[in-house]
């Protein structure tokens, strides 16, 4: 008390007033924050999950919330710019009409497209089958590309260029996703950078400042104990491992490197095997389902199975792959942190590349010019008069199957397992035990779904709506699973690191989604029988065509921007700016190193002085 008295007496009146006013400002801000938490979606649920299970699992749920919002905004974007004008004109609101421009210079055969939208009496079963495979009555709705066979919409006297709007809306949602993800990952990136920089006194910091005295909930306290224990143990383990690695002899190093190369070859071979099987299954499914549809034969359930075969194989590969990888990586002798990262990268690759392989095999079918079927239109018009709708249907099937699997696994695996563990005390079952909530697996699942959504939205504009509903339901399903069947993880994960990692993988998914979309838009000729791009060679051609309608000045500017005279200096300037920032970052790193060395010198000086003092005292 005496020391406090001395302290506070030294403060002047002004400083006291400043202190009290800053405290009341802080209180006001926290009140406003408290109110705004009511407006954010699921704030209470996520908060309670954080309290019971830790920040690692909470980051998964806030990631899910982010995806729900993203998909909702994408849906609003596509709906208002693409679907809404058509709906307005179909009902004649605002004196609107639809303009069809018949395609010129195109062979008759290419423009024949008769989707078998159900006419007349059909069995209820056919509706169900159509719902699951996207054919039949669903094919002619606004869900798929084929519905948008309109060239312009006249709203009173304004001409609404639908093809242009369709393409620009696609670019807009891709750009929006990219910017939003980058913005969110920027915060995580800085935290990661700070954390990664080898802390000066990591052990002292963890031990003396490790316990958060604000914790009041016994559950949160238990979590904190566990995470402290885990952190200390992993740090000690990593230190021991680093020592071991530094002491490795030449012979051991050779052995380990050759083992690693061998295992990487095995992994590569497994990946190739997966991709090849996906390719074969897709080709098989396309050939057989096409035949049945056209001939309208029975055995509908077998047909449905064949149609879902690619989705099933992909899901199987996504399930087996991670198991094999986590088994193999034990032999490669990495540090635990690196092991986790490498396995995750491999799993990510399997999941995202399998979508790419599926699309590749689809295109090989579409452009399969076996017996000269492609010449008139540029694609196989006999089997795929409206190939964009077919691709959209494949994406739709992938999404539905993914949703079914996510709902079925807890129902048929997790709940029975929990029941077994709680009611049967036999040793074997207890060995299996209750499952932990595997954050990375769940995150990869939803990133896979999101990549499908991004690719599929161009071919099926209402897909984001389905994705929003899907993620909305998944939130509640996962929450119920978590609370009822999972025990808290024995290895708590640092939240900031994982958040950044999720966003990086999502970004990889988005960039991988650019590739198929880019190829579809710019390379493959658009179908002449359906869709807004009937009158253009490829979907991309809308843009050069529109530019040609601009006044000459604007045209010249735009063409100038695309020419070499502009592009080369622009590229050079960008390179220079990038090098500048890299050099700046390096300089900062050097400054940090120097300051750190200075700190060490300071403490050595202190040591020297203390020793002198103790000597002098003797």
């Amino acid at each position: 008390r005496a020391s406090q008295q001395a302290d506070t007496e030294r403060l002047s009146r002004w400083k006291k007033w400043r202190r009290t006013s800053s405290k009341s400002l802080k209180k006001a801000l926290s009140e406003v924050k408290g109110l705004s938490s009511y407006l954010v979606l699921w704030q209470r649920d996520i908060h309670s999950i954080e309290g019971k299970f830790g920040t690692g699992i909470q980051s998964y749920f806030s990631f899910l919330r982010f995806l729900v919002l993203l998909n909702f905004i994408i849906f609003i974007l596509m709906f208002s710019f693409v679907t809404l004008p058509i709906i307005i004109s179909k009902y004649g609101i605002f004196n609107s009409t639809i303009a069809y421009i018949s395609p010129k210079n195109i062979e008759e055969n290419c423009t024949i497209y008769e989707p078998s939208g159900n006419k007349g009496l059909v069995y209820f079963y056919t509706y169900l089958k159509d719902l699951f495979s996207g054919t039949g009555f669903l094919e002619v709705t606004s869900l798929f590309y084929g519905y948008y066979t309109i060239d312009a919409v006249w709203i009173s006297i304004m001409r609404y260029n639908l093809p242009l709007a369709y393409l620009l809306a696609t670019f807009a949602y891709l750009a929006l996703s990219l910017l939003w993800i980058i913005k969110r990952s920027a915060e995580g990136f800085m935290q990661n950078l700070v954390h990664d920089a080898d802390p000066f006194q990591s052990y002292c910091n963890k031990v003396f400042a490790g316990w958060d005295f604000c914790i009041t909930d016994p559950n949160a306290a238990r979590l904190k104990h566990r995470s402290l224990q885990y952190e200390l143990q992993t740090d000690l383990e990593e230190e021991k491992l680093k020592q071991k690695i530094a002491e490795r002899t030449m012979k051991e190093k050779l052995r380990i490197y050759s083992l690693r190369i061998f295992i990487n070859i095995i992994v590569f071979a497994i990946l190739l095997g997966c991709f090849y099987s996906i390719y074969r299954v897709t080709v098989f499914s396309q050939e057989n389902s096409n035949v049945s549809i056209r001939n309208d034969t029975g055995t509908d359930s077998a047909n449905l199975l064949v149609q879902y075969l690619p989705s099933m194989v992909i899901t199987l590969a996504n399930f087996i792959g991670p198991l094999i990888f986590s088994f193999l990586i034990r032999f490669e002798d990495y540090t635990p942190a690196f092991e986790i990262k490498l396995t995750l990268m491999r799993c990510v690759f399997v999941r995202l590349a399998s979508i790419g392989v599926l699309l590749l095999s689809l295109w090989s079918q579409i452009s399969d010019c076996g017996t000269d079927k492609c010449k008139p239109c540029g694609y196989n018009y006999k089997l795929y008069p409206c190939w964009e709708s077919d691709v959209g249907q494949e994406m739709y099937k992938l999404m539905i199957f993914d949703f079914i699997v996510i709902l079925a696994v807890p129902l048929f695996v997790d709940f029975p397992r929990k029941l077994l563990v709680t009611h049967c005390s036999c040793k074997l079952i207890q060995l299996f035990g209750q499952q932990e909530f595997g954050i990375s697996d769940n995150v990869l699942e939803i990133i896979y779904g999101q990549t499908i959504c991004w690719i599929g939205t161009f071919f099926s504009p209402l897909l984001p709506a389905i994705a929003t509903i899907k993620y909305f339901i998944i939130f509640y399903v996962k929450k119920i699973i978590l609370i009822h069947t999972r025990k808290p993880a024995a290895r708590p994960i640092r939240a900031s690191g994982s958040n950044f990692f999720f966003l990086v993988v999502l970004l990889i998914g988005l960039i991988l989604a650019f590739i198929p979309l880019g190829i579809s838009i710019a390379r493959i000729p658009s179908s002449k029988a359906c869709g807004p791009f009937r009158n253009f060679n490829t979907s991309w051609e809308v843009i050069p065509d529109t530019i040609l309608e601009f006044p000459t000045v604007v045209q010249q500017i735009l063409f100038g921007m695309a020419s070499e005279a502009f592009a080369v200096p622009f590229f050079m300037i960008i390179c220079i700016i990038m090098f500048y920032f890299i050099a700046l970052a390096r300089a900062h790193k050097q400054v940090v190193e120097q300051l750190r060395e200075q700190l060490v010198l300071e403490s050595r000086d202190k040591m020297f002085l203390i020793r002198k003092i103790t000597e002098a005292q003797r």
Partner: protein
């Protein structure tokens, strides 16, 4: 309501004296008084300023209930002559003041040192550090570090903080190490 009622129970001069001597604001002191008097049985609430609350009652506070250092905190802040670690209202205010947002890092590290010094001998030796780590990792057999890990950990801690290499950490070494620690100010905090 309750705030106005309790304000009349602390005389104004006492209130302003507390404000001077601690880092707490008027509202925080009044809130502390309210919480402290709730720990007493109804009859003794009138003279809350001068009664001592037994340790078992203090430990029912949610802020201390889940804290592994609860016993040390009571011991360090208690001015009881009988050594039963009971706390008066002024001890309670003292504790809240040290743990408040506006306390200086010097004060905090001074008291943190006293809390971590389990055998009260003025230095943190190996036994103190061992007990400290066991408090952090939790009660129960499976949550303790193995003896080899503990040895390695204590070795690392002493390497980082023991400047004069005498195998113990004294108050100035502790304050030196804690001043470099980025998390200390935000974790050594209790808010009612």
């Amino acid at each position: 309501g309750a705030m106005g009622g309790s304000a009349s129970l602390i005389p104004q001069d006492l209130l302003s004296e507390y404000q001077e001597l601690t880092f707490l604001s008027k509202q925080e002191i009044l809130l502390a008084y309210k919480r402290f008097s709730e720990l007493l049985p109804k009859e003794e609430r009138e003279s809350a300023c001068s009664t001592r609350v037994p340790k078992s009652q203090i430990l029912t506070l949610p802020e201390l209930r889940a804290n592994p250092f609860q016993h040390r905190i009571c011991h360090v802040f208690s001015t009881s002559e009988t050594g039963d670690d009971s706390m008066s209202f002024e001890d309670f205010l003292d504790m809240l003041s040290v743990f408040s947002d506006s306390a200086t890092s010097d004060i905090k590290s001074h008291y943190a040192f006293r809390i971590f010094d389990f055998d009260d001998d003025g230095t943190l030796d190996r036994k103190d550090l061992e007990q400290l780590v066991n408090c952090l990792t939790g009660q129960g057999e499976e949550s303790r570090l193995s003896s080899a890990e503990m040895e390695q950990l204590i070795q690392n801690i002493l390497e980082e903080s023991d400047i004069d290499k005498d195998g113990t950490i004294n108050i100035s070494e502790f304050q030196h190490v804690v001043s470099r620690s980025p998390d200390f100010a935000s974790s050594f905090k209790i808010v009612l």
